[in-house]
Amino acid sequence: MILMIDYGAGNTASVANALDEIGTQFCIAKNISDVKEYEKIILPGVGEANYAMQQLRERGFVELIKNSKVPTLGICLGMQLFTEFSEEGETGCIGLVNCKTIKFSNMNEKVPHMGWNNVNTKNDSILFNSIKQNEYFYFAHSFYVEESKYAVASTKHGIEFASAIENKNIYGVQFHPEKSGAAGLQLIKNFGEL
């Protein structure tokens, strides 16, 4: 059973539809009091970092995620919230990986980084099982997670940034697997099978 966290900002419907398609069971919690048994967590993400952190705090989810021992996947903004700090709204984040979320700036490429781009996996991340190297995934974001030892995949848009991160049970992807066709479904399936 996957616990999906609905903090008002995230696009839970699209992730729910993708989970339905691959036949993975999930439940959605809007508040800590909704949480029952679960084996994994997904933190989806669309929205603004400062507002999202405020919502996670108010709904009692920050500690749950911070102390999570189960496989936990952050998508887009969800992944960025796993870092120490985001320049979007200058907010402290959950701090599960020791790196920062930074605004795309001073470059020739357009912002937001919007559309299908290659994901270059650096090592054998289990999330990318049965997915080919340099596969296209769909991105839509103006802030990125900087390169660090936690980056298991990178993507180039003006600069190279971490398009997937991993730290023990913590996983994050900058792109939207729920909007990335067959490859995206495979990635969600891989997470579901962890």
Binding site: E21, G47, L77, K179, L185
Partner: protein, 251 residues
């Protein structure tokens, strides 16, 4: 490297695709959800739905369309048509849409872009802009091209970027429906003057038109409607052709 996008556009009325289907039986065109599913499987990079339902039930029909579409496709999609409030945007995004397209509402109330991009992020806010050539400049039209404004095309595009729009959907009314090609004359200087992605719309008739738009301007995406609905052009064939001409697309 970011690929160039091919975007079928579906003009929808009461759940049915209407534009471009005037000359054939509506049943042949299929409903919007079926067509969306077909385009997803044929390799469309994203889809745009513009709702032209004119009844009071509009909000409900648009929402139910978004819910149904989100269930069957795994690519991003934008919805537009008469959206004028932050609350409406929230409902549509939560139902599974990735972006909303705003047109007349942001001309009447430019602050809507500011509010909406603050709430949902710029990446979710598409400014749809319809321009028409008038003597020696381009003028912005609203209300489905029926009402002339006093806004100049380039100025308004720069303004929506500044207010927080994440993308511009630029329709050239002079080119729309002509099948004579995209409006390079406007698009080329436009993409050089803004730093957000631009979708070219209006005028697609052949594969060369897509190539010309991507080759001669730095637009990020090209949109077409009837060309795809009628099966005059298959998305997969178009993308193979573009790739053979060294335009970076996702196959």
């Amino acid at each position: 490297m970011l690929t160039k996008r091919i975007i079928p556009c579906l003009d929808v009325k009461d759940g049915k695709v209407v534009k471009g289907t005037n000359f054939i039986n509506l049943r042949d065109a299929g409903d919007a959800v079926e067509l969306a599913e077909r385009y997803y499987h044929e390799g469309a990079d994203e889809l745009i739905f513009l709702d032209i339902t004119a009844t009071e039930e509009k909000r409900k029909t648009l929402l139910s369309l978004v819910e149904s579409v989100a269930k069957v496709i795994r690519i991003p999609f934008t919805v537009g048509g008469g959206i004028s409030k932050v609350e409406d945007i929230e409902v549509l995004l939560k139902a599974g849409a990735d972006k909303v397209s705003l047109n007349s509402a942001i001309v009447h109330n430019p602050n809507l872009i500011v509010e909406a991009s603050k709430h949902f992020g710029s990446q979710a806010i598409v400014a749809a802009i319809d321009v028409k050539k008038t003597s020696n400049s381009f003028t912005v039209y609203i209300s489905g091209g029926k009402v002339e404004t006093d806004l100049e095309g380039f100025d308004w595009c720069k303004k929506v970027e500044q207010l927080g729009a994440g993308e511009i959907l630029l329709t050239s009314m002079d080119s729309d429906g002509t099948k004579n090609g995209f409006n390079i004359e406007f698009l080329k200087p436009l993409v050089e003057s803004v730093n957000i992605p631009v979708i070219a719309s209006g005028g697609a008739g052949t594969m060369e038109h897509f190539y010309n738009a991507f080759n001669e301007t730095n637009v990020d995406a090209c949109l077409a409607a009837s060309l795809f609905h009628f099966n005059e052009l298959k998305i997969a064939d178009l993308k193979k052709y573009l790739l053979s001409k060294n335009i970076n697309v996702r196959l």
